[in-house]
């Protein structure tokens, strides 16, 4: 069931019924088309004896090629959800199916493998290794995938060329601008051809002009069929996505198309 709070418009996405069906079929393997399916996902933390329930049952289904923003104020559980979707953490309850595989019960090393193959992370603070060149940074996921050095270099160079950094691949992060660093991070996220590109506040450390530039990169990736999930707290950034999921108090408060979201929060940016 898609949780919808009172007073929030019923999501009017065309496939809502289908989405409900997928989420509702507890224990069943979702069909190939569904990249991410969570059913009743819960996560709680023991903070010195006090139990904090960060997620209280999240049902979310994301199709291949979707471009989804996950919104919510701080404390809404969006970071927890992102960590779970990114396989950096495991839930206390519920199911998480990634690409038809139940990953919510996997061991640490199996999750590492899944992260390597299926997830491309883009972080707010870029998280590039400062002492490695752009090329070496992009090579990292391939190193852990056990790909031979020659092919690694070729694929990393290719990925950097795709984000228009072919000329600067031997530069270190501190020799690159913020926007360039984030593009290196995007190249690194995509080099292993992951199922989902998972971005956590990708523009949080960038000025508005550079943010727009990064958003255009995401836009074009989505156009090419890349599934993108972006966590942000900025409504105008979220409005670049084609679907906006809002979390509040550990549950999904709304799940809308960009147009619906923009209309509801009164954003002019979504007019296009």
């Amino acid at each position: 069931m898609t949780a919808t709070g009172p007073g929030v418009a019923e999501p009017a996405l065309t496939e809502t019924a289908e989405r409900r069906a997928v989420v509702g079929a507890a224990g069943g393997t979702p069909e190939h088309d569904w990249v991410i399916v969570t059913r009743g996902l819960t996560r709680q933390y023991d903070m010195g004896g006090e139990i904090v329930r960060a997620l209280r049952g999240v049902d979310l289904a994301i199709r291949r090629n979707e471009y989804v923003a996950i919104m919510g104020p701080s404390g809404s559980g969006k970071s927890t959800l992102m960590n779970l979707i990114g396989c950096l953490d495991t839930p206390n309850g519920g199911e998480y199916w990634l690409n038809g595989t139940l990953v919510s019960r996997m061991s640490d090393d199996a999750l590492a493998r899944v992260r390597n193959k299926e997830i491309g992370f883009v972080f707010q603070t870029f998280n590039l290794l400062p002492r490695a060149s752009a090329l070496q940074n992009v090579e990292l996921p391939l190193v852990y995938a056990g790909i031979p050095a020659d092919e690694r270099r070729r694929r990393a160079a290719e990925a950097l060329t795709q984000v228009q950094l072919g000329e600067r691949m031997h530069h270190r992060p501190n020799e690159l601008s913020g926007g360039q660093r984030q593009r290196v991070a995007i190249a690194r996220a995509l080099v292993n051809r992951p199922s989902i590109l998972l971005a956590d506040e990708p523009t949080g450390n960038l000025d508005s002009q550079t943010s727009a530039e990064i958003m255009r990169v995401f836009e074009s990736l989505a156009d090419q069929g890349q599934t993108v999930v972006m966590v942000t707290h900025e409504p105008d950034i979220a409005a670049h996505a084609r679907r906006v999921v809002v979390l509040r108090d550990g549950v999904i408060a709304s799940d809308e198309t960009r147009a619906q979201y923009a209309e509801r929060v009164g954003l002019a940016a979504a007019a296009h």
Binding site: N83, G86, L88, D89, D108, D109, A112, R113, R115, N116, K117, F121, F123, N127, L128, L129, R131, A132, L140, P141, V143, Y144, A145, G146, A149, R188, N192
Partner: protein
């Protein structure tokens, strides 16, 4: 991640922090350096003793028949002074019995020696190594003559007072002169110089060129040993098997001649090179033990420094570890990354230590009489020790890094 990638990564870290890395591997470096130096010196001494000393002073594959079998600190165990005093001296008749019993191919030589003052006109008297022997002595010792000739069996039989001298003796008593035909006096008796042995060099700065060799039948025999005492019989065998046979033949012959009953101990000594150098081997073992115990302490300190630095590295690079985990590094990848880094660091320290240790050993052997020989096993052991120290020191920090929670690690500033 492949080991090659891990090593490449470790070398990058090393290059980035050159000074810190240098200080980190200082302990291992110093430890290995002294380890190599000590082992090289001890090994050099040992090899010197076994090859040069044994070959030149005693002779390879030789045994000596003598009154006593005490030689050096190793051979004195169970020495019974009263029993020793009752032992008869080695007489000519004993020697004849033994010589007759020896298998063919073995070369016996009646030999006794001591230090004596020699004199010649125009030179200060000087101590020489006086040897009373027969013609076989030159064969056993492999002495080649630089000038003149060795004495003959005929001269030995007749007891002619002829003498063969070492180059140092020749240079001292007859500087710039041809020593052949000149007289060298020992105990006031003149001996005619008939030959000069070519340069032999020295062992532990003890010169082997101060020789004065005369027939045992000449007055030299009486200068060295009391009458009727032959001193000792040195026997050289062509190989170790023949040596063992020769020893048994000599023992049997002498026991029979002296009428010893079965069960009665030998009242003579049969000393082999092995027995003579047993004590040196023991000494060598002890020197290596003590010589390596001290550097080992340095290695332990080195290991602790590496562990400390690796713990700091893990703390400093927590975020990097988080990123690597997010990108798909498994626990084993992180573990091996830090282990390889620690091992690379300390192996490099060991490599530098080996180079410095060899240098130190060469330096010592150049400026002191101590010889040095770098033992290949010590280099291999140093490399293995270096890598081992690194791995041992790296295990704890590396496993801490591997266990880090990726989310917490990524959050770290």
């Amino acid at each position: 991640m492949k080991t090659r990638d891990a090593i490449a990564l470790a070398l990058v870290q090393l290059r980035v922090q050159k000074l810190k890395s240098f200080f980190t591997l200082l302990g291992v470096m110093i430890g290995v350096m002294f380890l190599i130096a000590v082992v090289s010196i001890v090994e050099g001494m040992g090899r010197y003793v076994e090859e040069d000393f044994a070959g030149r002073l005693v002779g390879v594959n030789t045994f000596t028949l003598r009154r006593f079998n005490n030689v050096g600190p190793g051979g004195n165990r169970g020495f019974d002074a009263r029993e020793a005093r009752r032992r008869p001296v080695i007489r000519m008749t004993d020697v004849d019995a033994v010589r007759d019993a020896l298998p063919a191919g073995l070369v016996p030589s009646i030999t006794s020696e001591t230090f004596k003052y020699a004199s010649a006109p125009g030179a200060r008297p000087r101590q020489v190594q006086a040897v009373a022997t027969d013609a076989n002595y030159f064969t056993i010792k492999k002495y080649n003559l630089e000038q003149g000739r060795a004495f003959t069996d005929q001269e030995v039989r007749s007891g002619t007072p002829v003498i063969v001298i070492g180059v140092e003796v020749a240079a001292h008593f007859f500087p710039g002169l041809n020593p052949l035909g000149r007289a060298l006096r020992l105990g006031g008796i003149p001996f005619t110089v008939i030959g000069v042995v070519e340069k032999q060099g020295s062992v532990f700065s003890f010169s082997l060129d101060r020789l004065a060799i005369a027939p045992y039948t000449s007055p030299m025999g009486r200068l060295i040993r009391p009458a009727k005492d032959i001193g000792s019989l040195v026997v050289q065998a062509p190989n170790a098997t023949a040596l063992a046979e020769g020893i048994e033949a000599a023992r049997g012959a002498l026991r029979a001649r002296r009428g010893l009953r079965a069960g009665e101990p030998d009242n003579f000594g049969l000393v082999t090179q092995d027995a003579a150098f047993g004590f040196i081997k023991e000494l060598k073992g002890r020197l290596i033990l003590f010589g390596t115990a001290l550097p080992a302490i340095s290695l332990v300190v080195g290991a602790m420094v590496i562990m400390n630095i690796m713990l700091v590295a893990v703390a400093e690079r927590t975020r990097e570890i988080g990123v690597r985990k997010a990108l798909g590094a498994r626990r084993g990848d992180i573990l091996s990354q830090f282990l390889v880094e620690a091992a690379t660091l300390s192996t490099l320290g060991a490599a530098i230590g080996i180079a410095l240790g060899i240098g130190l050993a060469k330096l010592i052997s150049a400026f002191t009489p101590l010889p040095a020989a770098v033992a290949p096993w010590s280099v291999a052991a140093a490399i293995v020790t270096g890598a081992g120290v690194g791995i041992a020191a790296g295990i704890y920090p590396a496993s801490r890094a591997a266990r880090l929670d990726p989310i917490a690690a990524l959050r770290q500033e």
